[in-house]
Symmetry: C2
C-alpha cells in the first residue's frame, strides 16, 4: 500500500490487508458450504430458512464474540449479513403467490372504471366522515396561517390533549413528552420498530396479522417470527407457544387487539400473561391499538398502558375512531427515552405532521360522542353480517371488536385467493384473501366499512357463490 511512506504503519496496514483477504477466503469457503446445504435441502424438500438453526448459530457466535472481545451488536450484524448472503446462494422453491387486499382493490377499481358497481368489502377503511367541527377547525387554522413547521413530536397543545384523553380513556398517567403525534398509525408501528430493533433482532408477530407488520420488521433489518393462532382456539395465542418462539435475539412482540383481521380482543388474563412474559424476557410490547374504540364487549379495551413496568410502545390513530383515514394522523406513547429516539426519526424523515391537521386532531379528541356512535354502528354491522353468514358454509369467530369478520371457507378445494378473484368477477363483491394475513389460504376478510345494506347484499352474493 503505497499511500504513506511510514514503514511501521505500512507494515501494520499490510497485515490488515492480508487478514482481510484471509477473512474473505473463509467467507468463500462458507458460501460453498451453504450452497451444498442448499442443494441437500432441495433434494430433501426442506425450506431454505430454518429459524432454529439460525438461532443456534447466533447463540454460538454471541459467545464466541464475547470470548474474543468483539462488540456483540457488530457480531450480530455481521452474522445477519453472512446469513442473508448464504440464503441467496441456496436454491429456492417457487414462492406461493399471495394475493393481497391491495391486489383485489386494484382489480375492483378496474371494474368500477368500466362502470360496474362493486360491493367493496376489501379495504379496511370506515365509510364514516370526519366530524364537521374537525374540518372547520382545520380550515380556520389554515386561514390563520397555521401551516408552518412545528416541533417534530407535534405541538405541545396536541400532545397535552392526547395525554389528557389517554388519562380519561384508559386511566393511564402519561406526560405530554411521552407522546408523539405521528403521520398515521402505520408510521407509529414503523417508529416503534425502528427505535427498538437492530439488524438481526427477532420480533414475534401473531398471525393472522395486518399485512404490514412482517415486511416492516424486515425493512428495519429484523426478522419476524410467526406465532400462529387458530380459529379453533378462538384466535387465542398460546402462552406456552409464545415462550417457545422467544430466543436470545428476540426484542419485541407485536400485539394488535382488537385484531385486524380476526376481530379478536384478548381476555385480560391473556394480555396479562403476555405482559409477564415480556417483562421476564425483557421484551418490548409493541401494541397497535388503533381499534381500541371499536370494542363491542362489555369488558372494555385492554391496553398495554395498564402495564407501565413492561417496556412498551402504544400506537393509536384518529383514522378508525373518527373516520379520519385521509388526515393521516395518529400517535404513539412510550417511555421518554424511546419517544425521543422516535421523534428524532420522525424529524429526519418527515419533519413534522401538517400543522393544521394537528389542530384538527385536537378537535377530534373533543368529539367523543362521534367515536361512540361510529363504534355502535360498527357493532351493529358486525352482528348483522355474522347473522347473515350463519347459514353459509363458512366458520368464523364472532368479532369482539375492530371492523372485520374473517371466515374460513368450509368448501373443499376452494382457495381463498381464487375465491376472492372469482367472487369479484362473477358477483362483483370484493373481499381480502386470507393468505395476505399469514398461512390462512382458505380464509377471507370482510371489511365492515360499508353501510349495512351493502354488506348484507355482499354476504347474500357470497352465499350464492358458495352454493
Amino acid at each position: 500500500m503505497p499511500c504513506t511512506k511510514d514503514s511501521e504503519l505500512d507494515k501494520l496496514r499490510n497485515e490488515v490487508l492480508e487478514t482481510t483477504k484471509e477473512i474473505f477466503s473463509l467467507i468463500a469457503k462458507r458460501q460453498s458450504l451453504c450452497a451444498e446445504i442448499g442443494k441437500l435441502k432441495q433434494m430433501k424438500g426442506l425450506g431454505v430458512e430454518d429459524p432454529s438453526v439460525e438461532r443456534a448459530l447466533r447463540d454460538s457466535i454471541a459467545k464466541e464474540a464475547m470470548r474474543l472481545g468483539i462488540d456483540k451488536d457488530f457480531a450480530q450484524r455481521l452474522t445477519t449479513l453472512l446469513i442473508e448472503e448464504c440464503t441467496k446462494v441456496q436454491p429456492k422453491p417457487p414462492e406461493r403467490k399471495v394475493l393481497t387486499h391491495r391486489d383485489i382493490a386494484r382489480m375492483a377499481e378496474a371494474l368500477e372504471k368500466q362502470g360496474i358497481k362493486v360491493i367493496r368489502m376489501d379495504v379496511g377503511e370506515p365509510d364514516f366522515r370526519a366530524p364537521g367541527v374537525v374540518i372547520e377547525r382545520a380550515y380556520q387554522e389554515m386561514r390563520a396561517g397555521r401551516s408552518r413547521y412545528t416541533e417534530p413530536k407535534g405541538k405541545p397543545e396536541l400532545r397535552q390533549a392526547i395525554a389528557d384523553y389517554v388519562r380519561m380513556r384508559f386511566g393511564a398517567d402519561i406526560k405530554p413528552d411521552q407522546v408523539i403525534a405521528t403521520i398515521g398509525g402505520a408510521f407509529g408501528v414503523y417508529l416503534a420498530l425502528a427505535s427498538t430493533i437492530s439488524p438481526g433482532d427477532e420480533v414475534v408477530v401473531i398471525d393472522p396479522s395486518w399485512p404490514i407488520y412482517k415486511p416492516c420488521v424486515r425493512y428495519v433489518g429484523g426478522r419476524p417470527i410467526v406465532l400462529e393462532t387458530k380459529l379453533e382456539d378462538g384466535w387465542e395465542p398460546s402462552l406456552e407457544e409464545l415462550n417457545e418462539k422467544i430466543s436470545a435475539a428476540t426484542r419485541a412482540i407485536i400485539l394488535n387487539y382488537p385484531c385486524n383481521p380476526t376481530g379478536k380482543a384478548l381476555e385480560r388474563k391473556t394480555f396479562k400473561g403476555i405482559a409477564e412474559i415480556a417483562q421476564d424476557r425483557k421484551l418490548t410490547l409493541i401494541s397497535d391499538e388503533v381499534y381500541a374504540d371499536y370494542n363491542f364487549t362489555e369488558k372494555g379495551h385492554n391496553t398495554v398502558l395498564s402495564y407501565p413496568d413492561v417496556s412498551h410502545v402504544m400506537i393509536s390513530s384518529f383514522s378508525k375512531s373518527w373516520g379520519m383515514t385521509g388526515f393521516r394522523v395518529g400517535f404513539v406513547i412510550s417511555d421518554l427515552e424511546r419517544v425521543n429516539r422516535m421523534a428524532a426519526i420522525q424529524s429526519m424523515l418527515i419533519t413534522c405532521i401538517p400543522e393544521f391537521i394537528q389542530y384538527a386532531a385536537i378537535e377530534a379528541l373533543k368529539c367523543l360522542e362521534d367515536a361512540k356512535r361510529n363504534s355502535d354502528v360498527m357493532k351493529e354491522r358486525a352482528e348483522a353480517v355474522c347473522k347473515a353468514l350463519e347459514p353459509l358454509p363458512v366458520s368464523f369467530y364472532k368479532p369482539d371488536g375492530a371492523m372485520y369478520v374473517f371466515p374460513r371457507i368450509d368448501v373443499e378445494g376452494i382457495d381463498g385467493s381464487e375465491f376472492a378473484v372469482k367472487l369479484l368477477e362473477k358477483k362483483n363483491v370484493s373481499v381480502a384473501p386470507g393468505g395476505a394475513f399469514g398461512n390462512y389460504f382458505n380464509y377471507f376478510r370482510i371489511s365492515l366499512g360499508q353501510p349495512k345494506e351493502s354488506l348484507l347484499e355482499g354476504v347474500r352474493r357470497i352465499g350464492e357463490f358458495l352454493s
Copy 2:
C-alpha cells in the same frame, strides 16, 4: 447443533459454524491490528480516517472477491462494516461539539417565551403563506369527503399535474407513473436513499450541506463521503476531487443546487461534468431541487431531469415555492422501477399523503405567479442583506438562489457556534451556526425567511456585535 436429526446436514452445518468462528477469530485479530495502527497514528498526530488507504484496501478486496467468486456488492458492504468497526476501536481525538440550527431555534423560542422579541434568521422557512385558492381547495375537498386513503404514489390527477408542470417548467418528458407525491421533500430524500443504498454503500455528500443528508445516509446503512467545497472557489465542487472520492462502494451523489446553506447554483458546465462522472461510474444522482424556483440568475435552473440517461432521482417540494412548509407535500421523479420501489416504501410507512392536501397541491401548481412573486421577494431580500453585509468583517458568496447567505466571520478567535449563542443572547438575533453544515465552524447561515426590514435590522445588530 441439535436442531435436526439429519447427520449429513448436521455435518455441513457444523462446518459452517466452525468456519464462522474462524472468521470471527480473524476479525478479532484484525481489530487488534487496527487498534495498534490507531495508537501509532495518535502518537504521530495523524487522523483516524484515511480515505486513500481505504480505497486501496477496497480495490484489493474487489479483486480478491472476484477471484473467490464472492458477490462484489456484498464484499464492499462487508468491507465497510469492517472499516467502521476498526475506526471505532481506534483512539479518537475529542469530538467538536456541533451546535445545530435546531439548538439555536430552541434557545430562541425559550427567549420568546420570556417575552423577548428575537429576529429569527435561523430556521429555513419562508414567511410566505399558501395561496388563498390552495387553502380554499383543501377546505372544499375536505367538506366533500376527500379525506380517504389514496394510491400510495398519490392520486393520478396530482401526478398528471406534476408531470405537466415538469414538462412546462423544465422541458422534461415525464410520465405520471414516474412521479410520487411525497410527504415533503425530506421524505423524498429518504425514499431516494432507501431505494438506492444497501448497508455499507457509500454516498458522496458535497459540503457545506443541509444537515439532514449525512444522518439520513447513515440511517439507511450507508456511509457519507464528504467532498468539501470552499468559499474561495465560489463553492464550486472540483470534478477532480469528486472523482477521487468515488470508490468501488460508491452508489450515489447528493446534489442540492441552489444550495442550502451557500446559495450556490451550479454552472451548467459543472452540472454536466458531474452527470458525466455519474454515468461513467454508474452512480445515481440524487438531486434535491426544492429551491429550483428560488434562482436569481439569468441562466435559469439546472435540473438533473436534463440528463435522462443518467440514473437519477429528482426531489422537489411545494414548501419553498408556495410557502407551504406546513402542508408537508413534495414530489420525487425517477425511473419507473425505482419509483415503484419508493412507492412501496411510502405505502408501508405512511400509506399515502392526506387526500385533500393532494388537491391543494394541484391547485398550487396553477399558482405560477405566486411562485414567481415569492422568488422575486427572496431575490430582493438576498440583495439587500448582501449589501448590508458588505462593510462587515465577513466574507460571503452572493447567492445565486435558495434563501440563505452563508458568511464567514473574518474576526480572529470567533467560533461560529459561540458567535450564534452570544449573538442571540446579546443582540437577540438567531442565526444557524456553520458547524451544522460541515467543517465550517467560523461560518454562520442567515435565513431570508423574514421581511426585509427585520433582516436588515438583524444584520445591523450582527455588525454591532462584530465591531
